[in-house]
């Protein structure tokens, strides 16, 4: 219910707008005070903007503003917002930050964005910039309008002058295309920031995408992007209304081949990953349904081009298709196109669609950089079934049968499918474990079974403690979790205590749970590897390993009993996706944290000058899969280890010994006397600072920032591989 539509019940007249028109400041303040105090219901973004303007007006007379701020309390979101705005307008930034801070995490959507942005802005004005980054990221995720995204982008830029923003990934993104792309930049920067990506954006001159990619000295080349977004639109294909059926296939092939040529150039000459937009099938077409029913109709050609683009993505490394056709469909093609802005400014899609579009683009960027969520943490009562198991019992809860029960069963089905393709499920519930587990064991309509959960936490402790435990047990960062709970108070608590955890706003109706989780876009992926399909099983196997460890007398016994087999191979095309996945997401055992895209790794392999190694670990309980990567290159007569990382899943197994021993063997074969390894410090890799010393390397240089360079003389004996490891080393063979 909009504040503006409240019917008058006092002497001062009706809506906020009317109150705003009262010329006498004191009378206006009194009218606003009366409206705010009796207000019920949510405060819309439009109301919030009006209240902000009103507050700025009141601040012209300090006394009026101060009295109003005192007269209204925190009775509702509108009052809190107005109070915060008044304090800000009076330059009481600490006070404003305190007021906004109380309410910022309760609100969602555009309203939440405005609260979070106001909080961040006032924190910055008090010099508390580091506390403002999370609110800014939250704001950028919630915002639904260009103006708010633009304001957030501005605020990030302002704060950046004093402090480097925290980010999981820093990157350079180039936007090239056939429409005006300038509006995308502030929105895309903000959306990327919400996803933990600090993006610098280059926009190519209008319609110059071919020249920028193909000419040797373009602005694009000078910019050295990590990602090139090719936003070509359907009009730029210049398809006629209809072609002859016999010519259709050739035309489709030619259009896709033209794009493939550009992708190849991006990969080979620029080393960037390409995000290629596919093509909207436009709503309006003079041929109507004929455009698709005719084999040579434009709509049909566009469908075929889009299909062939998906196939090309499979064939070509370093390319990801952005499904613009799907985005336009979901948004609504009638709103997606604005013919006035197309003719006056070549704006496509409509400006209003840019917030929606950039949210989807940022989701794809997250997938590209390995920053998507890995685990859904679920409450149970009224989240996975209707009712409370501890009170209603197995027969009283609603699961399957009946509309409400069907909605919950469908949600369970959606989660089950997520799990099958590699997303882990965890339970975090305030319940007795026996009551909770009984549903998954015995309820006839349950879709999820107990073994579908990688960890099941049911107790009465605060949920933030449980979430920390879940993250630690699954070896995941808090920023890999999505927390789903029907209880608003729990959601609020987790947003406050664990801001890195994504906590979507859940609607009251369980029929809408699926779409809510789906629209987070937090689980997008570019590929599915064998590891993904087997991830849940892998975690179960790991649980068995933990039991063995707990029951072993000592570490050596445990490791010997595992019967580990290590396989070392040079990089190959088939395993490239998984290798790249590891390169981009491993943080702890990662000596140099060099992130590379699939295109860049492919180029490295093709150059032939480097020693590459991936490590696969199998043991008695199963296959851990590819869990180690090493790249070493010759430089100045020395073998320099450019990249060395191991998945935290298999740390403490001495697999690192096998990897290093193989590098030493290679160096000896190539008559390279020295091996050098570098430690580049990050916030997460402190544990490997001196790992090279374990193998007989000595430190030859220390940097001011804590970085170290180590060197090993291959004439010295070793390094040894422990006897309990069986090693199959294929990296010494000539690569075919």
């Amino acid at each position: 219910m909009e504040l503006n539509s409240i019917l008058p019940s006092n002497n001062h007249g009706g809506s906020l707008d009317q109150a705003a028109r009262i010329t006498d400041l004191e009378a206006r303040a009194a009218a606003v005070r009366d409206l705010i105090v009796q207000f019920r219901g949510p405060c819309t973004a439009s109301d919030m903007r009006t209240l902000l303007r009103l507050a700025q007006g009141f601040a012209r007379e300090r006394r009026v503003a101060l009295e109003l701020a005192l007269a209204i309390g925190d009775e509702n979101a509108a009052a809190a917002w107005l109070r915060g705005c008044l304090k800000e307008a009076l330059a009481d930034h600490e006070g404003a930050a305190a007021v906004f801070g109380v309410h910022a995490d309760s609100a969602s959507g555009e309203e939440g964005a405005l609260f979070q942005l106001a909080l961040a802005r006032n924190l910055a004005k008090c010099g508390r910039i580091s506390e403002g980054w999370h609110p800014l990221a939250r704001a950028a995720g919630w915002a639904a309008t260009n103006r708010t995204l633009s304001a957030i982008d501005q605020q990030i830029a302002t704060c950046r002058k004093q402090q480097t923003p925290p980010a999981r990934r820093v990157c350079r993104i180039a936007l090239l295309g056939t429409a005006t792309l300038d509006f995308w930049a502030p929105a895309l920067r903000a959306r990327s920031f919400a996803a933990g990506i600090d993006a610098e954006i280059y926009i190519a001159p209008f319609h110059q995408y071919r020249q920028e990619i193909l000419s040797p000295e373009s602005g694009l080349k000078a910019f050295r992007p990590d990602v090139v977004i090719l936003a070509t639109d359907w009009r730029s294909l210049h398809l006629p209304d209809e072609v002859g059926a016999a010519d259709a296939a050739q035309l489709v092939r030619a259009k896709v081949a033209g794009l493939e040529e550009l992708w190849r150039a991006c990969r080979e000459q620029i080393g960037a990953t390409v995000i290629q937009h596919n093509f909207e099938i436009p709503e309006t077409d003079p041929y109507g349904r004929l455009s698709v029913s005719r084999p040579g109709g434009r709509g049909r050609l566009l469908h075929r081009i889009n299909l062939e683009l998906w196939e090309a993505e499979q064939r070509q490394p370093g390319v990801a298709i952005f499904d613009l056709e799907q985005a336009a469909s979901i948004y609504g093609k009638q709103r997606w196109n604005d013919p006035v802005l197309w003719h006056t400014a070549r704006q496509y899609p409509a400006a209003d669609a840019v917030p929606f579009l950039t949210r989807r683009l940022a989701a794809l960027l997250r997938a590209l950089f390995g920053l998507t969520a890995k685990c859904v943490v679920l409450d149970l009562d009224n989240t996975l079934w209707g009712g409370v198991i501890g009170e209603d019992g197995l027969n009283g809860i609603r699961l399957g049968g009946g509309a409400e029960g069907e909605a919950y069963a469908a949600f369970q089905g959606y989660l089950k499918s997520l799990q099958k393709r590699g997303i882990l499920l965890a339970v975090c519930s305030k319940n007795n474990p026996e009551d909770a587990q009984a549903v998954f064991r015995e309820h006839p309509e349950t879709v999820l079974k107990l073994e579908d959960f990688s960890i099941f936490v049911a107790n009465w402790r605060p949920k933030e403690e449980n979430l920390r435990q879940i993250a630690a047990t699954l070896n995941l960062g808090l920023d890999s979790l999505v927390f789903v709970d029907d209880n608003h108070a729990e959601r609020l608590r987790i947003r406050r205590m664990l801001p890195e955890v994504e906590t979507p706003e859940l609607p009251a109706d369980p029929a809408r749970y699926i779409e809510t989780l789906d629209r987070t876009l937090s689980f997008e992926a570019l590929t599915l590897t064998e590891e993904d399909y087997k991830r849940a099983e892998a975690y179960r196997e790991n649980a068995v390993r933990h039991e063995l460890q707990a029951s072993s007398a000592n570490v050596e016994d445990f490791l010997a009993n595992l019967q580990m087999r290590v396989e070392l191979r040079p990089f190959d095309q088939a395993n490239l996706p998984r290798i790249v996945q590891l390169i981009n997401k491993t943080n702890q055992f990662n000596l140099t944290t060099r992130r590379r895209s699939e295109a860049e790794v492919g180029a490295l392999m093709a150059s032939g000058g480097c020693y590459t190694q991936f490590m696969r670990l199998r043991d008695r309980f199963g296959d851990n899969g590819i869990t180690g990567v090493l790249i070493a290159c010759q430089r100045e007569g020395v073998l320099y280890i450019d990249t060395w990382l191991i998945s935290c899943r298999v740390l403490g197994r001495s697999v690192e010994d096998a990897m290093i021993a193989s590098v030493a063997a290679y160096a000896r074969r190539k008559n390279l006397r020295y091996i050098q390894g570098e430690y580049i410090p990050t916030a997460k890799n402190g544990q490997v600072k001196r790992v090279y010393e374990r193998f007989g390397f000595t430190c030859i240089r220390e940097e001011g920032d804590g970085g170290m360079l180590f060197q090993y003389d291959v004439d010295a004996p070793g390094p040894e591989t422990p006897a309990f490891l069986t090693v199959e080393d294929h990296t010494q063979e000539p690569v075919v």
Partner: protein
């Protein structure tokens, strides 16, 4: 300054990144620093968002004064005070 004039000024300030900008009825695009043809489109989009209206092709091309903008808004039902 009327309520409408305050809203118009606020949009100009946001789009042109200048919180100290003063906007009055007599001003044209020549008087307001930063109001070039690229800003024109940004202003159009921002005003459409602020007032929930849509400008015509003709209006997008020709609005180049605050008075002209105000007239266009009022003609679309925005209250004049």
């Amino acid at each position: 300054m009327s309520f409408l004039e305050e809203r118009i000024q606020q949009v100009f300030r946001e789009v042109l990144h200048n919180q100290d900008l003063i906007v009055s009825d007599s001003m044209t695009s020549h008087d307001i620093q930063g109001w070039d043809s690229f800003a024109q489109v940004r202003l159009v989009i921002a005003f459409e968002e602020e007032f929930d209206i849509k400008f015509t092709t003709d209006e997008v091309a020709t609005i180049s004064s605050v008075a002209g903008l105000k007239d266009a808004l009022v003609s679309k039902g925005v209250a004049a005070d």
